[in-house]
């Protein structure tokens, strides 16, 4: 039977791989485009999600909240498509084209992964208005770029971490080592150093691209956080999507603290068990960006180009749920004011 062994091993490995890939997406598009009882002049909105799609408890879900709110208020005809793991550029491009050709006059590409494909697609459909979340790389007369000043929000939670740390050692755990997540790291480090120049910031990224599992692997997050806690760190900022759950779990087991990301994670039902270790969260309001964009299209006020959602706009912020930062709120708000009026310039790149 030796001859068959390699073949069987290959089949098993593949089945496992494919199975895991299939687990990545939880599709929930059943009710899309059917729920509304519109007047016939509904806006047709197509969404192309990044990997994970609706239901990822993180970035995509935030966009989904925005579209849900818009749907409730305006009654939209929505079609939601999502990306597959490791798919080619051509498939992303095809997804956007199918939406545009399907009569969806407003198309939102969620995630910088769509930048290249959108740049190719947009010029071919001049009557369609596109939005691109998290990237300025694709520009055009019918493209609006919705980007966030993640470094500013991260700066504030960095300040909070420094003020609350008793060991003067704090940690940063990034999901995947990409320029986007480095923005979080740079802002966080700047915030820590602003308050305690001598404090140490330990940095760890869970995976390197093209391995994007770091955004959705709580076990990796837990291991990394445990390593930091053992080295004397007492607060860890997890900019790692779903992997953050593992960071909070480790913090809970060791009696330390964690900082959440994207949503106000203290209030997420999925994190109820560990919410007492969540010091604060860096909120990135993708939902507001998406809602604003649809609203502007609805009102016939589509504006091309970059719109930055920063502290001033309320696009990023720190969360106060749980009351753990109530005692330092005055200091945080003071820094917030200084960033808004330009006294403090937060770096966005290493």
């Amino acid at each position: 039977m030796r001859r068959m062994r390699g073949t069987r091993l290959a089949a098993a490995a593949l089945a496992l791989g494919l199975g895991l890939a299939a687990c990545g997406g939880s599709s929930d598009s059943g009710d899309a485009g059917s729920g509304s009882t519109g007047d016939g002049a509904q806006l047709k909105v197509g969404l192309a999600y990044d990997i994970g799609g609706r239901g990822d408890q993180s970035f995509n879900d935030s966009a989904a909240r925005g579209i849900d709110r818009a749907k409730q208020e305006f009654g939209l005809d929505i079609k939601e498509l999502e990306a597959g793991a490791g798919e080619s550029e051509a498939i992303k491009e095809d997804r956007l084209r199918q939406l545009a050709e399907g009569g969806y006059t407003t198309v939102i590409a969620v995630g910088y992964a769509y930048a290249t494909s959108l740049a190719k697609v947009a010029p071919d459909y001049t009557d369609v208005q596109f939005a691109l979340v998290d990237s300025e790389d694709a520009t055009g007369d019918n493209i609006a770029n919705i980007v966030f000043a993640e470094e500013q929000g991260s700066f504030l939670v960095g300040v909070a971490a420094a003020l609350k740390s008793t060991t003067d050692k704090v940690g940063f755990i990034g999901g995947v080592n990409t320029p986007l997540i480095q923005k979080f790291e740079v802002g966080f480090t700047a915030g820590v150093k602003q308050v305690k120049p001598d404090a140490e910031v330990q940095v760890k990224y869970l995976t390197e691209p093209p391995d994007f599992t770091g955004f959705n692997d709580p076990a990796k997050g837990e291991t990394a956080a445990n390593g930091m806690f053992d080295a004397g760190v007492d607060i860890v900022y997890a900019a790692a999507g779903g992997s953050g759950n593992g960071v909070f779990k480790a913090a809970k087991a060791k009696g330390k603290l964690g900082i959440g990301v994207d949503s106000d994670q203290y209030n997420l039902p999925g994190l109820a068990e560990v919410k007492d270790v969540i010091l604060t969260s860096m909120i990135k309001k993708v939902d507001v960006g998406v809602y604003d964009f649809i609203s502007s299209v609805k009102d016939g006020e589509f504006a091309k180009g970059v719109k930055v959602y920063d502290l001033e706009q309320g696009g990023v912020d720190y969360a106060t749920s749980g009351g753990k930062v109530d005692d330092i709120k005055a200091q945080l708000d003071d820094f917030k004011k200084q960033i808004v009026d330009g006294t403090i310039k937060v770096p966005a790149q290493k």
């Binding site: 001859r3 068959m4 390699g6 073949t7 069987r8 091993l9 290959a10 089949a11 490995a13 593949l14 089945a15 791989g17 494919l18 199975g19 890939a21 299939a22 997406g25 599709s27 598009s29 059943g30 899309a32 079609k79 498509l81 999502e82 597959g84 793991a85 490791g86 798919e87 080619s88 550029e89 051509a90 498939i91 491009e93 095809d94 997804r95 084209r97 199918q98 939406l99 399907g102 910088y112 992964a113 930048a115 290249t116 190719k120 071919d124 998290d134 990237s135 300025e136 790389d137 080592n177 990409t178 320029p179 986007l180 390197e208 691209p209 093209p210 391995d211 790149q349």
Partner: protein, 382 residues
């Protein structure tokens, strides 16, 4: 030597076709269980395949899958399992992208530039596979283990190199990072297809040439004979004077060199740079395609096209309200069932052949009852 007989051809087709039918049945059950219509799904896939753009994209995907499958198949024929195709092609694509995009390359004639890029990619792929080969021949380390580990090392090496301080380009404000884009002279133009917004990769001909070379070397040269012989029986190969170590080294280097080509159709035909969104995972798809195509140059081409069509019809399914994951289920079931189907067909063939021999010799006893366990089980000769 096997005679050409209609039944042999039928038996050869029985396994892949049976597996395909079985996979469709499983998908039908899954669809029914989740409340989706099988006919809607098939309708959406067929409609998608007829759209020129989807068809061209499928062929483009298939071009890369085919190259990956050949890289895997070279190892398979030697009973070597090169799981490292994935790391080999990513590292090769990244380094050759950096070379092709370099400013000093711009002065060179186009043909020279493209040739240099292709050769560089092959060398890098071969070198990366060579590490595993060296470990195997000098220390006896299983190539399965070492290539899996080298995949991870390649990932980190690429991340290290893909940095503005090293091979990547500084792009302020961008959330992507990549090598310097390859200017027009270094690109391989596509073949326009009417009705499609994307062109057919020019390097589809490279894939075809590699497929031809694979067939030629394996079935028409002494090297190919020695490679297959070593794969079939190492002790017999040693006894007939073949150096197994040399064969392991050479076949891994060849496998790696072909793996190095996997990323090039995308790199030179579409992306023109190696950045964070360069498609990963094609090496693993190559394993599936090689299994499905039974290491046969034509079989793998068909399997690659099937795989490409499935991948590229996922969007249409999503649009029709059918979860795109059904494609992944279908692919997984095809691979699993094709392995089982080949084994079933093999046993059936052995049994009928022995029965015929028995008949010819005048014996009526059914030899299948003895549970044939001979070593004559490699039927997929090219």
């Amino acid at each position: 030597m096997r005679r050409f007989a209609p039944r042999a051809v039928l038996l050869g087709l029985a396994a892949p076709v049976g597996a395909l039918v079985f996979a469709v049945l499983v998908c039908a059950v899954v669809l029914a269980a989740t409340g989706h219509s099988l006919f809607d799904t098939i309708d959406a896939m067929v409609t998608a395949a007829q759209r020129p753009r989807t068809f061209v994209n499928s062929l483009n995907s298939a071009t890369q899958y085919y190259l990956a499958a050949i890289a895997v198949a070279i190892g398979f024929r030697m009973k070597l399992f090169n799981i490292g195709v994935d790391g080999q092609y990513r590292l090769a694509a990244m380094l050759s992208a950096a070379l092709a995009g370099a400013t000093w390359m711009e002065g060179l004639p186009s043909v020279l530039r493209i040739t240099m890029t292709i050769v560089a990619a092959m060398l890098v792929g071969a070198a990366w596979a060579g590490v595993a080969a060296l470990l195997k021949v000098t220390r006896g380390i299983s190539e399965v283990i070492s290539t899996i580990m080298l995949n991870a090392i390649a990932t980190y090496l690429v991340s290290y190199l893909l940095n503005p301080a090293r091979l990547a380009e500084e792009r302020p404000g961008s959330n992507n990072i990549g090598t310097r884009p390859i200017t027009e002279g270094g690109q391989v133009g596509g073949i326009p297809v009417s009705g499609s917004s994307s062109d057919l990769f020019g390097l589809v001909f490279l894939a075809a040439a590699v497929g031809f070379a694979y067939w030629f070397v394996l079935s028409r040269t002494r090297f190919g004979f020695e490679l297959k012989a070593t794969g079939l029986s190492e002790s017999a190969a040693v006894a007939s004077g073949i150096s197994v170590k040399k064969m392991v080294l050479l076949s891994m280097l060849l496998s790696g060199a072909v793996a190095g080509l996997v990323g090039l159709p995308q790199l030179l035909g579409s992306s023109h740079e190696y950045s964070l969104d360069f498609p990963p995972g094609i090496g693993f798809i190559g394993i599936a395609v090689a299994l499905l195509g039974r290491n046969h140059p034509i079989g793998m081409a068909l399997a690659a096209v099937l795989w490409g069509l499935l991948d590229n019809s996922a969007n249409a399914l999503d649009l029709a309200g059918v979860p795109r994951e059904i494609v992944g289920i279908m692919q997984g079931v095809i691979v699993l069932s094709v392995v089982i189907a080949y084994e079933l067909v093999r046993r059936y063939r052995v049994r009928t052949e022995q029965r015929e021999v028995g008949k010819a010799l005048g014996s009526t006893r059914d030899p299948a009852a003895d549970g044939p366990k001979d070593d004559n089980r490699e039927e997929a000769s090219a």
